[in-house]
Symmetry: C2
Subunit: 249 residues, 2 copies
DNA sequence: CGCGGATTTGACACCTCTCAATGATGGTGG
DNA sequence: CCACCATCATTGAGAGGTGTCAAATCCGCG
């Protein structure tokens, strides 16, 4: 039942852009070495292999920024199928710090192999780039969330977003998905205080919109939640919407 | 005293990466057509020439996102030297809406000419790319601001940032620079209400940190303002810091 | 001169934060 | 197997920052 790392990459790329069989085969042939990060809250700086590109296979990570006085802002959530260091691969340069948010396993793909593949398959280049564009797009949506949405809207929005991102790579089960984040980590992502995250979650639970326990979220009525959050999925640039709601028991 | 459009582009690129003379000459030879946007709050969608890349010469614009219920979030400020549609030029794809925030003049450079130039000068490609990376970096910093900084810190931070960005392209005069934004536009950028922007500005004025009238800001003590905002300029990736404070009368 | 948008001011509500204490939970060592 | 400890979740009380509503003033512009 476990997808192999290459399949995950294929699924992720295809969620944005359809690939043909030769392209899929090329991706499937990519050598990749598994790498397991044993714990949560591990900074990845220096822990990634030089000359490799890394994708998250299992677990969560984040990009973040620390302020001088200890406040932290999580800039983006990285989840299975996300490539961490694609931008450096092509452009080099600066990127914010990355840390795990759970035990996680990464796949490391040698730059050289990837380069070779991209020479033969320009559309894979496009597909890879589109993942970075989607990441930017998500980042802008977070700006909207934090700037303009209320606490409960922000939380609802994040849950909708995460659900669809995971669904796109087959990591949801019906309306449930893993979200092993601490309330304080959610707070740092949403620009809220820990206490308020707690109250916000309670409100969503009490109103019957979600369940959230033991690192697993269940969304009872996605459309209602999306409406409350003013969530519209365009910015995720998914080729097709996962089937929502109509999940037979 | 007015810099020509090509000089502005050169200045902007050199603010991040030094160029040699042949590269500067190449840029100086780029044909570009001036385009003036007569008013504020003009959506640029459809108003830009196809197959051209546009740079702001004078005035301000912004990327923004509107929510269903009328709330608006300004995602980034575009100012002289900023290229609006560089990403589409290379990657195509989706970008948020752009609107002017003042009367503005743009320069339109034909894609073809730019392509030709880049073939001869790979470092110009790098320099251009780095402007998009800086834009992303600024965007992340905004996320930190809105997520973690107080109203007064946010405002101070935006003023510091804007000052340095303008200084990098020679658009400041001493400690003064143009900022012809409405308080309500500042509010949309900072994730605050108009009224609170007003009070925040008053506080900064009363504490003697800035003057702000008739669309012009003056920063009396940049370092103090930066300290209050927890502003550290690294994220702007400027090659050299403009001289601050020590501006002889 | 009068109009419309922008700024300013006031009063008030309320969302969210902070501080603090109390319960859960899970892992660890005795 | 249980006591213990750290971390996380939850709850309460209160303060304070920020938003909303509304009105007044200012200002540029036609």
């Amino acid at each position: 039942m476990k997808t192999m790392p290459n399949d995950l990459l294929i699924a992720r790329l295809q969620s944005h852009l359809a690939l043909d069989e030769s392209e899929r085969n090329g991706l499937a042939g990519l050598p990749c070495q598994m790498r397991s990060m044993p714990g949560r809250n591990l900074a990845l700086a220096g822990k990634l292999s030089e000359n490799h590109v890394h994708m998250i296979i299992e677990g969560y990570a984040c990009r973040y920024r620390d302020l001088a006085d200890g406040r932290r802002q999580i800039l983006s959530l990285l989840m299975p199928g996300d490539v961490i260091d694609l931008r450096q691969f092509v452009l080099g340069g600066m990127q914010p710090a990355v840390a795990t948010l759970s035990v996680a396993t990464l796949a490391a793909i040698p730059n050289a192999s990837l380069f070779r593949l991209l020479e033969d398959h320009p559309r894979i280049t496009t597909a890879l780039w589109s993942t970075t564009l989607v990441e930017e797009s998500i980042s802008r949506e977070w700006l909207v969330s934090i700037g303009k949405r209320s606490a409960i809207e922000r939380m609802a929005h994040l849950l909708c977003e995460t659900f669809l991102r995971l669904a796109a790579v087959g990591r949801t089960e019906g309306a449930r998905f893993p979200l092993p984040l601490t309330q304080s980590e959610l707070a740092d992502a949403l620009g809220l205080s820990t206490v308020h995250v707690n109250r916000t979650l309670q409100e969503l639970r009490k109103s019957g919109q979600i369940a959230f326990q033991a690192g697993t979220v269940e969304i009872f009525d996605f459309n209602a939640l999306a409406a409350q959050a003013m969530f519209s999925p365009d910015y995720l640039h998914l080729r097709e919407m996962p089937l929502i709601g109509a999940v037979p028991a």
